[in-house]
Amino acid sequence: MNRREFLELIAKAGVTASLSGCHALGNKNAGGLYELSKFGQARVLHITDTHAQLMPVYFREPSVNLGLGSAKGKMPHRVGKNLLSELREVNPMLSHAYTYLDFTEAAQRFGKVGGFSHLATLIERLRGETGGALLLDGGDTWQGSGTALWTRGKDMVGACNLLGVDVMTGHWEFTYDAAEVIENTADFKGEFVAQNIRATEDAMFEGVDVFDDDTGHVFKPYVIKEQNGYRIAVIGQAFPYTPIANPSRFIPDWTFGIQEEDLAQLVEDIRVREKPHAVILLSHNGMDVDLKLASRVSGIDAILGGHTHDGVPVPVVVDNGGGKTIVTNAGSNGKFVGVLDLEFGRTGVVGFRYRLLPVFSNLLDEHVEMAKYISEVRAPYLPALNEKLATTESLLYRRGNFNGTFDQVICDALLEQLDSQIALSPGFRWGTTVLPGDTITMERVLDQTCMTYPETYVREMEGHELKMILESVADNIFTPDPYYQQGGDMVRTGGMSYSCAPRNGFGERIGDLRLRDGSLVDASKRYKIAGWATVGSKSAGPAVWDVVADHLRDKKEVSVDRVETPVLKGLTSNPGLA
């Protein structure tokens, strides 16, 4: 592996002109940001977790992304200045892309990010430089917007086909019914791969359709793609905990898991049987799981990762028994494209260059065909999407280990509209950002809430049950071994405060639970709790977006003065904490 080359990447990716505003660049030239020098013989492009954002959006990176134990201070657990200090060269534009710093001001200056039309232009350009490139999509592409929900993911299948996605894997793709998933993967013109999804034994017995009767794999485990005469194996790794983190009732016949031993065997088999020039794992594990996996399974040249939405500008190179593996994570919401250029020698991959290119919509022309498609697919839904619900005085965002400001709005809506004492809202990492002074449209509410199990609930719970929920979710995030983490953020809370000691063990992280009036939550007393997105069975209440929309229509103006994040305990200075 050529380490020198990748250390230079940031310097090269920098914009050369001084940026007094993107329009000064003229001709949307982007000052060289998108002009890459030639490197190696084959190019692999990577997008992930776009969460169905067809249009350009704002997306604020987290100010809290804690790494504990051996992950402390390591990528991706660095935020703000602590992240920028890892880069060789920084400019205001890259700082804005990779961090939350001065978010509002920088967003107003540099404009929106992503959008499939601008993405298409960039990808076409990147392909043109090298006479073609493989385009891999790590999944969480067919969910996350109103139109994706209403078309059951089909608007995104169409967009991905136009974009020319060659290979993809999935996670939220599996929150539609299994039959719809199969239909969508059939409509998808690329290859849908997953080595870690098999039919359960019961389902095999009942005769469910699978890709491979011998192994029970529901989808192809891998494909071989040829690029400039080089054969690249792409193995799919779907999100291992889909039936736990999301309802298993939609996909009752399928079983997931990390399946590390199977993967190691598969890599070995592919190396022997197919003799590829490179082996890539297209992963939805999350970065921490990928880093551990890379240290234990050899023979993989690169793990192109997603799920944890970490925009990691510099890849991590992991040593393992059989060599080295590049591990990346390419952010979310269409904000980035990962560009991996590979250099081949007699032994396979001998060098690489990686760049995480931010997709600044103002710097990229719209792609005519894609723009037309998006406009057509959205047209029937525009009246609903464009409804103006309220304006906000505050910056509204979600991403971060604890409550974001948009979560606070959702929790307040649950408390007030459903007349409850405490609100719980899931710690998803998707959801776009709204700038102060902007209108909150229905589309922005759907960005935060759109999914196939949006039903709300109100139920009475004893104090100890509430604590156990918080403890369980905290353990899913902060347990030291990545293989036991699920990759989301902490459940958001409203109407209460608590303390959290992330480094403690299971059952010992959460304390000092208090209602807003300051009274301690009593372990044996009952409280009225509202929430949404129940995984076990369908709840009875109205969809959360309707609850939030009603709340916003009532308020007309939103200002978030306090965010009910927990008091953190037992943490000394942590580079993942702003």
């Binding site: 969480d140 017995f205 347990t479």
Partner: protein, 150 residues
């Protein structure tokens, strides 16, 4: 799994085998006592008596890191250690930790799969018994509430 047979064929044939395995008379008295034991140490005492127990890396113990459904957790134990007579799966935190015992005949491969119940997050152990020694490997399995995935 032997590649001569498809997984579907194998699953279907298992159903036939299961009838024999689950026949009530097959349960041995000693194993029955072990199933009633309330602590892992007691299970080990009843099953293995005074045989020395040694940790081994020669046992493949497949179990999900996080259970998709604690009520039916797929578990596989396989080893190439010579002279295996018995394989046992023990879940420390279960009220009755012993989940399964397999007697391995001379002509059998020491490769067993079953589904077990796991009440809460626990250390899981696989024991492989030979005539003069017991080999053991362990791993953690987590049973958790769902939700909140990214």
């Amino acid at each position: 799994m032997n590649t001569n047979f498809s997984r579907r064929w194998f699953v279907k044939s298992l159903a036939a085998v299961a009838v024999i395995v689950s026949f009530p008379g097959v349960v041995f008295a000693r194993a029955k006592g072990a199933f009633n034991a309330g602590k892992t140490n007691d299970v080990v005492d009843v099953l293995f008596g005074d045989l020395p127990i040694e940790e081994s890396t020669e046992i493949t113990f497949k179990l999900p890191d996080i259970a998709e459904n604690g009520a039916v957790v797929p578990a596989t134990v396989a080893t190439e250690i010579e002279g295996v007579t018995q394989i046992a799966i023990v879940i420390d935190e279960n009220p009755n930790p012993l989940s399964a015992v397999f007697d391995i005949g001379e002509m059998s491969l020491a490769d067993v799969s079953t589904r077990i119940k796991i009440g809460k997050s626990s250390v899981a152990r696989a024991y492989v018994k030979t005539s003069d020694k017991v080999f053991m490997t362990s791993r953690e399995v987590k049973v958790t509430i769902g939700g909140c995935g990214g």
